[in-house]
Each structure stands twice: as structure tokens, then as C-alpha cells.
Amino acid sequence: MAISDVLSHRAFAQAPRRGAATRLLEDERWLAAVLLLPTVILLGLFIAYPFVEGVWLSVTDATVGVPGHFVGLANFTALLHDSIFLVAVRNTFVYTAVATVLKLALGLWLALLLNRHFRGKAFTRAFVLLPFIIPTVLSTFAWKWMFDPTFSVINWTLFQLGIIHGRINWLGDPSLALISVIIVNVWRGVPFYAISLLAGLQTINPELQEAAAIDGARPWQRFWHVTWPLLLPVTMVVVLFSVIQTFADFQLVYVLTGGGPANATQLFATYAYQIGVGTGLLSQGAAVSLAMFPFLLIIVVVQLLYIRRVEVH
């Protein structure tokens, strides 16, 4: 079989006449170009074009229906004096940092639990993924009801338990709103951490735990000296993905609070949307969302460098 394949290829290669198309396809440079083309078109159409367009918009004074002229960095300098923008920056950092830490801690804890042997393990693992599978807008609406001052099931429970006496206005109270939004983000993000870290845990040879147990390490020492260092590369990649997503989060906040009350939950993405689409100031909206870029870049570069270091060691 293999031999006859080789023979027929050779016969084919030595055939005196070949079509022009065949000749082109046999040239690897051409073939590579042809194979890459669909991807290039898709990426260009849906990522590169909007990005370039966004950059262009941010240096003009375009509004809806008005093409706009080049104004240099005026939109960006204006942002520095925009108090709401500064609040959004602060919120985004708090939101990302707190949510990431909580997601990592809870996700890791869950992954460690799921990595044990117990009855119904497969079912539980699938169940844990639910928050991740349900469309964000759908589950966020459910949360909105749970946070509703009048109908809140959370308030009801706390009230019945005698922990609170009045109503908690989860989303309406400016000092609580960001916390509430973070809670939902954590709820939604934990499964991704749990499942990814579980996959990482399963690559660690269980004999290492046994060796460490015999060596005299207590459970938390086994975690700290063996599991954690070996899980670190996976953890770093998971955190990297999650930070990028959380930093640019939109749907969740948009559905829950729309950035309010009084911009208490305003993030980069919601503020950009509010200015660009809500108010119609396209150029300034573009400038807000582009302002995210350097921050994200720094975060990503720092993390990638760290991942490299971890992997080298």
C-alpha cells in the first residue's frame, strides 16, 4: 500500500505535462497563501478593520451622521479631565483585581475538591460548569431579580435568618453596586478557573503527593511545596485569559446597572459604549475604549514574561 503510494507519486511527479494550477498548488509558497487566505480575510474583516477604524475614529471629532475631521490627540487629552472617565478607570482596576483574586481562590479550591475521588464526580464536574454555559445575559437577568430591592431572594433569606432588618439595595446603593457586580462576575467566572485548574491538577502525578506524604509533608505543605509550583504555569495562563476578559467586561455590568448608580459601576467598556453609542459621540467613545489598550498591553506583557520565567525554571 505505502509502496504503491510512493510509486504513484513518483510517476505523477515525472509526468511531463501538468496543468498550470497544479504547478501553482505544488509550490509551497502559493499553497500556504491559498490556505491562509480565508483566515486572513476573516481576521481582517472582523478584527483588523474595526480596530483600524476605531483608531481612526479616536483621532477625529466624528459623531453619529457626521464624518468628522482629524483632531489629533484632542479626544485623549479631554479624557484626562473627564472625572467620569477617571472613575471608570479606577472601577475597572478594582473590578478586575478583586474579581480575579476571588475567582482564582474559589476556582482553585473547587478544582482541588473536584480532583478527589467521590461518588457522582462526573456529574458534579458537569454541574459546576453551568454558570459558564448559561448565556451571560440570561443568568445576569436572574441575578438582577435576586438583587432587586423588593423581590430579592437574598434579602428575604437574610431577613428570615434574622441577619438584617431593613432592605439592602444591592444595585441601587453606590457603595454596594460594585460589590454586587463583582459577585456576579465571580459566580460566572469560577467554573472556567475550576475546570482549567482541574485539568492542570490532573497532569500532576499523584505519586508525588504520596512521596510527599511519606516525606512528612502535611496536606497544606503538600499543596504549597508540590501542587502549587507544578500548577503555576497553568494558573498563569488561566489568569491571563481571565484578566483580559474581566478588564474589558461589558455585558454583565450593562445588564445589571448600566454603569450606575452615579457611575459607581462604570467600567471602560460601559463608559465607551455610553459615550460612543448612547450619546453618539463616536470619536470620544473610540478614544475611551482605546485608552484600555495600553493598560491591557502592560498587564499582558508582564504576565507573559512571568509565564516564560516560570516555564524556564
Binding site: 502525578n205 508525588l208 504520596e210 516525606d215 509533608a217
Partner: protein
């Protein structure tokens, strides 16, 4: 230093009865090898001893303490795993030092003990390397080093040499033996390789299907196996077996098998007398089959046809057709046998083994 006692030890995995009422007394400083075919429960027994596997019933004693409810770290044992189980992110030094650090041994003491172990094992030059930068044999040494720096009461080994190539395995086997002679610590060693068992063990425990078949010194197992399984398992090439019927002929006891018949000397006949008229299994080791030189009594000789000749240098293995059986004979290199030759073989009656046909117990 301590003795180890297994008392009526059982292990159930749901409905799998993996270890069945194992009783064993391992003396202080003794090197005991558990050997048996795959799945016979060696690893499970060892892991119950280590505390890595729960004990379904029975007792494990280390020293004079029942350790059933003690965590592995409190049993004062060290274990060497088949796949080494070295911590991949730690240097060789840290791998060896880990157990001591966990036990809060003084820093200078740790350095001294690691250095000492490294010197014994010849791995001084690799202390800064990571396990993945070592060859299989070097990793094995590190794994040994990690065990010996701890100065435990008992060493446990689970097939530590099975990942090494044949030559290195023989070399490490010798080193393990030397190491034990030097450290004089009680050791329990699991292997499925009977040569390893025979060469390393002060005593050998043969297991099958979760049951201990025989416990004894290597030569005891070789010379006086208690049943057909042990007889076939110990020794390489394996013992030849042939069913034979015992018959009383003119006051002498005869064993008739396909292709050969034996006239048994009086002492053996006395032992086998109750089996007269019944079938037994005759066992003969390849090295006990020798080419007859004429002076042998004819009642202890038989003819066989040579089918395959394997010249190993120090010995020659002949695959023989004897009646309906094939047998293997290990003869001197000087024997000039060729395929198709008909040779006359002689049996030494005192080297024959007889087994009950149904219980397979030695008679």
C-alpha cells in the same frame, strides 16, 4: 531499625479481594522480597504497609506499634517508587532534602546527610540539576538518596529497577545489595522478577492471587517449592512439568509419563506410595536434565528429540520433544547437539519434584 509484622492482612477494592489474609513476620534488618506475577497484590500489600492504602482488615506492626491508623509520615518509613516520583520542580539536592526539611532537621545536618547520601550513591555532581536533566539510572539513585537521607526504620521498594535497561538493572541490583549491607535497615522490596527476588532477598515471599504461597530463603524456594506454582515461578528457565501415572510393578514404584517412564528409588517410593494408581505431576528443572553417559541405571533415563538449540555461552538450552511434552534442558556448552538429534537424558531422582495433580501441592 525495626521488625515488621503483617497479621491477617486483607484488602478489598469493592468486590475485588486483592490481598487475602497475609501473615508475615519480617525480622529486624532483614531484606524481604515480595514476588509474584502481575496483579497478585504485591503493590497493594506494600502500600498498606506504607499507609498509602487503607487496610480492610488485619494489622500492620512496625517495631512494636500497630500502625494501622498512623499516617504515612508517622510510620517512619521511606519508599522508592517505580517511576521515581521525584519532585520535578526541585533540584536533586532539594528532592533529597525535602523530607528532612519537613521534619525540621537542622540546616547543617541536612547538608551533611544529603552530602553523605550523594557520596554513597555517586551523585555528588548532579545536586544542582533538575530530575529531567538526569538519566534513568541517575534518577533512580536520587530516589534512593531521598529514601536513605531520612534514616527510616523501614525501606519500601516498589519495582524500583523495572524502568532501567537490563545491564543497568543488574548493576543497580548489586548496588542495592551493598547499600543494604551497609545501612542494615529492614527492607521490603516488591518485584515481579524472580531473579531480582532470588539475588536480593534474605527471604522471599511468593504471592499469587493475593495469597502468600511460600516464604523462605531463596535456595529453600528453589530446592523445596511447596507447590507447582512456586516451582514454576522460581528458576529460569522454568521447571519442566509432565503428568505421570504411578504404578506398582514387581514391588517397585514406576512413574509412567508420555515419552518416558521412571523406576523410583525406595526412599521416594515410600513417600509416593499413597498415590499408587493415581496421576501426579513430575517436575524437573532444566539444569537437572543431563545427557546420559551410559553408567546411568536405565530406569532413570529417557530418549528425547532436540528441536531447538540455544547456545548462551555458559550453557546450552535444548528444547526437547519428549513424548507429547516439550521440555527444556540446560546442558554444558561442550555438548554437541544439533536440531533433530536423538539424545538420551538422565534424571537424578533426588532432584525430581512431585505434585498432587489436583491440589498442585508438593508431595
Amino acid at each position: 531499625m525495626a521488625r515488621v509484622i503483617l497479621r491477617n492482612l486483607n484488602k478489598f477494592y469493592d468486590d475485588v479481594h486483592a490481598v487475602k489474609s497475609v501473615n508475615l513476620e519480617i525480622r529486624d534488618k532483614e531484606f524481604v522480597v515480595l514476588v509474584g506475577p502481575s496483579g497478585c497484590g504485591k503493590t497493594t500489600t506494600l502500600r498498606m504497609l506504607a499507609g498509602l492504602e487503607s487496610i480492610s482488615s488485619g494489622q500492620v506492626l512496625i517495631g512494636d506499634t500497630v500502625v494501622n491508623d498512623l499516617a504515612p509520615m508517622d510510620r517512619d518509613i521511606a519508599m522508592v517508587f517505580q517511576n521515581y516520583a521525584l519532585y520535578p520542580h526541585m533540584s536533586v539536592y532539594d528532592n533529597m532534602a525535602f523530607g528532612l526539611k519537613m521534619r525540621k532537621v537542622d540546616r547543617n545536618d541536612i547538608r551533611k546527610r544529603v552530602q553523605e547520601a550523594a557520596d554513597i550513591l555517586g551523585i555528588q555532581d548532579y545536586l544542582a540539576r533538575k530530575p529531567r536533566q538526569l538519566s534513568g539510572g541517575q534518577r533512580q539513585r536520587v530516589a534512593l538518596g531521598r529514601a536513605i537521607v531520612r534514616h527510616p526504620q523501614v525501606f519500601l521498594f516498589d519495582e524500583p529497577l523495572s524502568n532501567l535497561d537490563a545491564k543497568l538493572r543488574v548493576q543497580m541490583r548489586v548496588e542495592l545489595k551493598k547499600l543494604h549491607n551497609r545501612l542494615n535497615t529492614t527492607a521490603v522490596y516488591v518485584t515481579h522478577d524472580q531473579v531480582e527476588a532470588m539475588t536480593l532477598g534474605d527471604r522471599v515471599v511468593v504471592m499469587r492471587g493475593g495469597v502468600v504461597q511460600q516464604v523462605g530463603e531463596p535456595l529453600e524456594l528453589y530446592n523445596a517449592p511447596v507447590n507447582r506454582f512456586v516451582a514454576g515461578f522460581i528458576g529460569s528457565p522454568a521447571m519442566n512439568f509432565a503428568p505421570a501415572r504411578l504404578r506398582d510393578g514387581a514391588g517397585k514404584l514406576h512413574a509412567d509419563a508420555s515419552g518416558f517412564g521412571l523406576q523410583l528409588p525406595a526412599d521416594i517410593a515410600a513417600r509416593l506410595r499413597p498415590y499408587t494408581g493415581r496421576e501426579v505431576i513430575v517436575g524437573v528443572r532444566p539444569e537437572d536434565l543431563q545427557v546420559a553417559n551410559g553408567s546411568y541405571p536405565p530406569g532413570l533415563c529417557f530418549d528425547a528429540m532436540v528441536e531447538v538449540v540455544e547456545r548462551l555461552g555458559a550453557e546450552v538450552l535444548l528444547d526437547l520433544q519428549v513424548g507429547q511434552h516439550t521440555m527444556v534442558a540446560s546442558v554444558e556448552p561442550g555438548v554437541a547437539a544439533r536440531r533433530g538429534d536423538k539424545l538420551r537424558f538422565a534424571l537424578k531422582p533426588e532432584r525430581l519434584h512431585f505434585f498432587d495433580a489436583s491440589s498442585e501441592a508438593a508431595i
